[in-house]
Structure formats: C-alpha cells, structure tokens
C-alpha cells in the first residue's frame, strides 16, 4: 500500500486512456480512439515515434492469403487490408497498389501456391489468381527464367510504415491526443478492484506517474517486459527476430516493379525482392531470432543469405549497386498469432503482444478491435462531432513541378536552399519537420521523414548542414545535436578547445 502511495506522489496527469508505445500500431490506435470524447496520452521511450519495428521492415501491405484461417491475425489482416488504403488517403501517406507475387520455381512450389490460394479464398481475400510462368516473365522481365507460375494478390502493395506512424500520431495529436516522447513506462499503478481482479490505474514513467481509466500496452519488442510487471504469462515467448536488408541505388536499371516473395517455409516468408515507396529496390529480410532487442547489427552471414536467397528470384542481381545495408527487429512470437486482449485478472488494461507480420496491413483492424475492448473496460465512447480524419503531408520539394517549386520558394525562401543534393531536400522541408505536430528533433528523425541522406553520398553532404539547422531551430549547441538515441552525438567540442579530461594532467 505504501508503494502505491509513493507512486501517486508524483502524479503528472490523469487521462481516460494511456497508450504505451508510439509505434505504428500504438499511433494508429491513438488516432482511432481520438474519434471519441476521450482524453488520451500516447507515450514512447525514444525521442521519436516509430523507432522500433515500424522504422525498419519490408513495408509490404499484405493481402492476407498466407496467415492461417481461424487465427486472429488471419482475420485482422484481411479486414485491415480492406481499410488500409482509405486510411492512407486520409492521412496523406504514400502507397503503391502494385500487387504481390509468390513465385514458384518448382512443381512442388505450385502446390504450395494452390494451398495459399485456397487459404486466402476461405478468408475472403479478393482477386487471388495463379498466373503462368510466361505471364510472370512478362510482368517482371528480370525474374528467374525457370519460374513455373506465381500467386498474384492484387490487393497487396507497398506502404510507408514509418510515415504512416508519423501521420497517424500527428492526426491523433491534431485531434487532442497528448504525445510524450522520451517517456518510458517503468511500472504500473495497480489497485485492488474485486475478488478476482486488480485494477491497472496508471503508468509510472521516468517523467512521473500518469493515471488512466484504461491503459493499453502496445510496446512491440518490449511487450514482455511490461507483462512481467503485471505477471501476465502466455504460452509463448517474445523474441526479437532480426531481418537484414540490402538497399539499391534507385538510379540503376535492373529493377523489379512489384513485390516478389519466394515460396514460404514454416518459419518465414523468405527473402523478398521488392521496391520501396521511394523506388529503391530492396532485398530482405533474413529471419533470425536473437536475444538482444537492440541488436540491429548487420552480419556477414545475414548478407550472404540475402544474396543467395534473392538470386534465386532474380538471377541477374549484382551487389555493385547496393547503397546501404540495414537490419530491423520484429517481435517474433512462438505462437505466430497476435495477442490483443484484456487479461482476465485485471480491469482497465489491454495488452497487445506478438504483433509481427502482417502488422501493418492489419493495423486499422487492430485499432477497431482495441476500440471495442476499451468500451468493454467500462469507458463510454461518444463520437466527437469535430473529429478531423484528414492530415495533410508537408510539401516534398522534389516531387513538385518547376512552377510549384518557384511558388514555394517565393512564399518561404528556406525552400530555396538545398541541404541534401542527392535527394533534393530543402531547408524549408527540414524546418517544417522540426516544428511539426510530431516534431523531428534528431538527425535520423529528419532523415526518415524527408529521405535526406539516403542517396548516393549517404549524408556526407547534408550532415554538417543538418547539425547547424537543428542547433539553430532547437536553440541548443551543435554538440547537443544527436543522430537518434541519447548518446549518439555528432560533435565533441569546438576546435581550439582542450579535450575533456586533459586539463587535469
């Protein structure tokens, strides 16, 4: 009891709903809940939204033919896909409706395709079709000439998971949600409730305690750490599953136009050859379970595996045009299903765990599912009449016509200064992101939003200029500007100053 009082001491605010984790799923839940007369707090431990799984994945909008019939994710992906494109339109986030292909290279593979198609049809995935090898070669000229056929899913596509996270969080903020970054959930406030239940009535963070009627944990890779605090156990474990990727220069000729999956194995969908929303071809991911949830290192073995895997789909592939490698972590659950529930021993708590692929395509359906659970936890939901579903993106200079570019510079001369020449990103765009409703206060936050530093020179040109702009706009010394996380500083000291520690010698 004393402990609870201790926790109450530093109460910083009282909300109807607190959402822990501003990843893709958490942000979309916040946006969905912001339709209702609720006082919502969205927190994330990092300096930006979407820095976990949301920022580094394959970005596929799954059609939903592969996740098994009868599972929660099998259902939510089909529902989510149906709602997905409208959500992107409302939030002004790019997507490509290019369809996806599962490529069969052997007769055995064709049988797998048939099974996948049957599974998809049972779940109501529209438009599934097995096309001939010849047709596949026609649609993707660089495909392995031995292709026997492919399962075409016209509702599949490519999304922009990171910008979707930003846009959803911004739309939630526009509609009254409070967003707190660098705010880590350390513990819960738990009170007695009934004979069989306790009540979760808030979250203890590094910035004080926040109380809420309903607390939603959407912590991605860290869901197990939160579950441990509440002693919630499932018959599965959450492990980080590492996926490594190769990114290619988009100026090169050898390009695929769509999403190519190999035939799946029980563990993974295999190494894809696909493109990003920005037009870069990418290979990935590998699928290796690891213990360390921050281990986004790229490994020689992983890269080798990617190359071998991708070569099977596109034999002409060469690595000479690779401009970057990266690794992302997804929450791999042993059960291979989403857990989205209000655990029976608590009142006022909703837990999301094991949201792995196809989390992005499922996300709008997940949000609706959570809205129902929130209602079941006793909150009366009344739709706001002034809820605004529309969030407009800020101008992307490189996408505008010469006339529009000229007009923009006239309006705001900052758009007349190029900071990243490879990707044509202007100072105006950077400053707009720094002061946006979900602000970009680090180099990587700006990079993810503007795509600056992702081209041929990989940031060599823009880095000094971005440091200067961040320092000026945030009113901090250049030595305090960081790349991503605390401690990822760029500069150590002004020149002509004595290095730290040497004065005492």
């Amino acid at each position: 009891m004393n402990k609870i009082k201790e926790k109450y001491k530093e109460v910083k605010g009282k909300y109807d709903v607190i959402i822990i984790g501003a990843g893709l799923v958490g942000s979309i839940i916040a946006r969905w809940l912001s339709k209702y007369n609720l006082n919502i707090l969205l927190i994330d431990k990092e300096p930006d939204v979407g820095t976990g799984t949301s920022k580094a994945n394959t970005a596929i909008i799954h059609a939903g033919y592969d996740s098994p019939f009868g599972t929660l994710r099998g259902k939510l992906v089909v529902d989510g896909n149906r709602m997905f494109y409208q959500m992107c339109e409302e939030l002004d986030v790019a997507y490509k409706t290019c369809g996806t292909y599962v490529v069969a290279l052997t007769d055995e593979d064709i049988k797998t395709l048939e099974k996948l198609m049957e599974n998809g049809r049972k779940k109501g995935v529209p438009g599934l079709e097995i096309i001939s090898g010849e047709e596949m070669r026609h649609r993707e000229p660089y495909i392995n000439p031995d292709v026997k056929g492919a399962l075409y899913a016209p509702t599949g596509g490519i999304g922009d998971p990171f910008m979707l996270t930003v846009a959803a969080a911004e739309n939630a903020v526009m509609n009254g949600t409070k967003l707190l970054l660098e705010t880590k959930a350390l513990d819960f406030v738990v009170e007695p409730f009934s004979l069989h239940k306790k009540k979760v009535s808030g979250v203890v963070t590094n910035h004080g305690t926040f109380l809420a009627d309903v607390t939603i944990a959407s912590a991605g890779l860290y869901c197990d750490e939160l579950m441990e605090k509440l002693d919630i156990k499932y018959d599965f474990y959450v492990r980080a599953r590492k996926g490594e990727y190769y990114v290619f220069d988009k100026a090169k000729k050898l390009q695929v136009k769509t999403v190519l999956f190999p035939c799946p194995t029980p563990v993974t969908k295999g190494v894809l050859v696909t493109i990003t929303i920005h037009g870069n071809m990418i290979l990935g991911p590998t699928a290796k379970e690891i213990k360390d949830k921050e281990d986004t290192s790229v490994t020689p073995e992983g890269l080798e595996e990617l190359y071998k895997g991708a070569k099977r789909l596109v034999p002409k592939l060469e690595l000479t045009d690779v401009i970057r490698t990266f690794a992302g972590l997804r929450a791999g659950g042993f059960l291979h299903d989403f857990i989205i529930e209000a655990p029976p021993k608590y009142w006022g708590f909703i837990n999301l765990a094991g949201i792995e692929s196809p989390g992005m395509a499922s996300s709008p359906a997940i949000a609706e599912y959570v809205v129902n659970l929130v209602q079941e936890q006793g909150l009366e939901l009344k739709k706001k009449n002034n809820w605004n579903p529309i969030r407009k993106s800020r101008p992307d200079f490189s996408e505008l016509s010469l006339e529009e570019q000229g007009w923009l510079i006239e309006k705001n001369p900052l758009y007349g200064r190029i900071v990243c020449r490879c990707e044509t990103v202007t100072e105006g765009e950077i400053v707009a992101e720094i002061h946006a409703p979900v602000p970009a206060h680090t180099y990587d936050a700006i990079k993810r939003r503007t795509w600056l530093g992702t081209g041929r020179c990989q940031g060599s040109f823009d880095t000094p200029r971005v440091i200067e702009i961040l320092s000026r706009e945030l009113g901090i010394p250049p030595t305090d500007v960081i790349k991503e996380s605390k401690g990822s500083y760029f500069l150590t000291r002004p020149t002509k100053e004595v290095p730290k520690g040497e004065l005492n010698d």
Partner: protein, 424 residues
C-alpha cells in the same frame, strides 16, 4: 520564373570552374556566369586550409583558400558573374539550365555553351557493406574536414581512418593538430592510395601507424562508435581469421575513394566512361553533347589542383569559342584507348587537326604500381608514334604524355590511339 541568356554557364566554382570562367571570358564570350550551390566561390578548396596548392602554376606554396582567391580575383576582374547559393536542378541536351535560389526563386538559363565543373564526391560507408551497427561517429574524411575547418567543431577525439586517400591523410594530421588521437590508418591495398608526399608529411611525421592489406570488419557501439575491428586480408581481399584486432575509438573516418559527380551530366545526355566515372571528352574537353564541356574532377579524379585548373582553362577556352562561333566539329577524331596497365586515359577522343596546331596532353593512371623504370608507349593503329620513360608508376600519381605537333603526320588518318605501360 526568371529567364536569362548567357554565352557560357559554368556549373560549380571550384578550381576547374573558376579557371573555365576566366578562360571563356578571355576567349571572347560576353556573358559568363558561374553557378555555385554554396554561399561563396571556391568549392572544396575553401575547406582545404592546408598548404601545397599552386606549386606548378604560381611556384608558391599556397593554402586552398589562398589558391582559390587568386582565381576569384581574376574572375571578378574579367567580369565573370556569379549566382551563389544556387542549385542546378536540371540541364537539358539543348543546354537549358533550371536552377533556383532563395532570392530569385526558379531561374531558367539559356546558354551558348556549358562547362560542367561539379567536381567529385566521396565514396560513402553504405557502399562498403561493413557489418555491425550504424552508430553516430562515422564520417567521410571530407565531411570531417568541413566540420573542423568550416564549422569549427571536432567530430570526435579518437579516430581510426579506413582508406589511405589524400583527404584521409590530410585529416589525420589536421585532427592531431586539434588535440585528437589518430589511432591508425587502415588500407586494404598493399600500397597507399594517396600521394607519397602526404604519407610522409601527414602520417610519418606524426607517428600515425599505417596498416596495409587490412580492412575494417566490424563497428562496435550503438549510440556512438566505441571501437572498430580490423583484420588482415588475403590476396582476394577476404579477411584472414585470427588476425582480428579491436581498436577502441569514437570515430571512423572513411577515405576510400572519390567518384566524379555526374548526376546532372546524365540528365543532359552526356555519356560517361565507366573507367573514369566521368564524361567522354575530346581534346577540347567537349563531351558527346555539342556545346557541353567538362573539366576537373568531374571528368576524372586528379591528384594536384594545378592540373585541375589547367583542365579548366582548356574547357573554358573552347566553350567560349563555341559559344561565339558555334564551331563545326571535325568528324575524324582518333579514339584514345587504354592499353596494358593503363586504368584510364584522357581525353578519350583526339582531333588530329588540333594536334597539328599545338601540343596535346594525354593524362593517364596505371592500374598497378611498378617501382622500376617503365616505358609509356603511344601507338596509332599499331604503329609506335611516341615513347617515354617513367622512373616508376603508381595508381595514385597521374602520368602526363605530351604529343608534339611533329607526330601529327603519323597520327593523321588513324582510327585508334593506344597508350600502354610496359616494364622494361
């Protein structure tokens, strides 16, 4: 949108651009404009505050900004105009330039001739596929140079430098001056890729260890670089197990090569030589697109700035003439071919008529070093027309061969001019 005409537009105001603009003016062009994306003229020279510039042209040992300033003054005196803080967005095959800046907004420039002098960029880290994390503290040597010399900030305190390019060696010394510790320079090749003089003056004089036949196989640290792991490589450049060495440091600098910057050239339909990464040029430095010339590091990467300036003079002079005369091109050009132990040679086309008028210079780089006397031989359709002896040849040091008008007779009517390096 502002629309203008100029006789010659020069894109980039580094040493090649300044020289080209001055020469274009001297050749009679009226309106010569330099377009520069930075706020001052001079290009990368402005951050090269070390000395060693101008020894050939001025017979003086100048710093980069001093060297630039000599030409900036000349350009201003000659009446060259500039568009600063201005980015070129597009260049068409008809030599129309679309550019913009804060003051004027969008600008369209019609031109009589264009000189491409955009220089080069550094090869980045992503292309190297070094495994490990991507923490803060990985910079190209040139970015570090800008941070220290222009912005006035240190990018780190303990450095490892991968690659032995000239900027890397210059920065090793510069960072040492500023109180940082340069732990080591690591080069995968069995020889340094920069100039010997920089090795002596920047590494040896400051006791900075150089490790040849080594590479970086891992980067440690999550937020900021904490260490890099080096390893020896075998003859196939593969790391040898058991030779790993963890070097604590907070910064990894990359000095792993320069690439001519030709994105804009491509937009104009300029064809690039895969060996140099720069445009194919003839002896007037004209590209395959009529009226578009190129000079300096945008064509191929030079060792010494004085030669860049000289190339700029050639391109500028001919661009000026082109703009006012629309000179007809000779149809009978010699194709210049890189033979044995020649990585690439410039120009790739030579007009025998020009050779008759004045000496023509060939510039080449070898593929591998030979630390002994070698023959450099020039042949036209298999006939030897010139040979010269070099005391040694190294990939880092460009070789010049001057063809005098006397060889014109041997070259006229030929199709291919082959240049090769043979051990004696």
């Amino acid at each position: 949108m502002i629309e203008k005409y100029c006789d010659v537009a020069v894109i980039g105001s580094g040493p090649a651009g300044l020289a080209a603009a001055i020469a274009a003016k001297k050749a009679g062009a009226q309106d010569v404009i330099i377009i520069e994306r930075d706020t001052e003229l001079g290009g990368i020279l402005l951050q090269c505050i070390h000395n060693g510039f101008g020894i050939e042209i001025f017979e003086e040992d100048l710093t980069g900004p001093e060297y630039a300033n000599r030409f900036i003054v000349q350009a201003k005196d000659a009446g060259v105009k500039d568009l600063l803080d201005t980015m070129v967005l597009d260049l068409t095959p008809r030599r129309e330039i679309y550019a913009f800046n804060k003051r004027d907004g969008m600008i369209k420039l019609d031109t009589g001739a264009v000189v491409l002098t955009m220089g080069c960029r550094e090869r980045p880290s992503g292309a190297l596929a070094i495994p490990g994390y991507r923490p803060a503290g990985i910079y190209t040597a040139g970015t570090a140079q800008r941070l220290v010399n222009i912005e006035g900030y240190m990018p780190g305190e303990r450095f490892v430098i991968l690659g032995s390019g000239d900027i890397g060696m210059i920065m090793a010394r510069r960072l040492t001056f500023e109180g940082a510790k340069v732990e080591r320079m690591i080069e995968i090749l069995p020889y340094i890729s920069g100039l010997k003089r920089n090795y002596v003056q920047c590494l040896l004089d400051y006791d900075i260890p150089l490790q040849l036949k080594h590479t970086v196989i891992d980067i440690k640290g999550r937020d900021r670089v904490e260490a890099v792991v080096s390893a020896q490589v075998d003859e196939n450049w593969k790391p040898i197990p058991g030779t790993e060495d963890t070097i604590p440091c907070d910064t990894l600098l990359l000095s792993v090569g320069l690439i001519p910057e030709n994105e804009l050239s491509k937009k104009a339909g300029v064809e690039l030589d895969p060996l140099t990464g720069g445009p194919y040029v003839d002896d007037t430095m004209q590209t395959n697109v009529p009226g578009i010339f190129a000079a300096g590091n945008v064509v191929h990467v030079y060792d010494v700035v004085d030669w860049v300036t000289k190339a700029g003079f050639v391109a500028g002079q001919h661009s000026g003439k082109y703009a006012i005369q629309h000179k007809k091109e000779s149809e009978r050009k010699l194709r210049v071919i890189a033979g044995n132990n020649v990585h690439h040679v410039l120009p790739q086309f030579l007009d025998p008529q020009n050779l008759e008028k004045e000496p023509q210079e060939l510039q080449l780089r070898v593929k591998w070093p030979v630390e002994d006397r070698v023959w450099v031989k020039v042949e036209v359709d298999g006939k030897l027309i010139k040979q010269q002896v070099e005391k040694y040849v190294r990939p880092s040091e460009m070789i010049k061969v001057i063809l005098s008008p006397e060889v014109h007779k041997k070259a006229v009517g030929g199709r291919e001019l082959l240049i090769k390096v043979e051990e004696r």
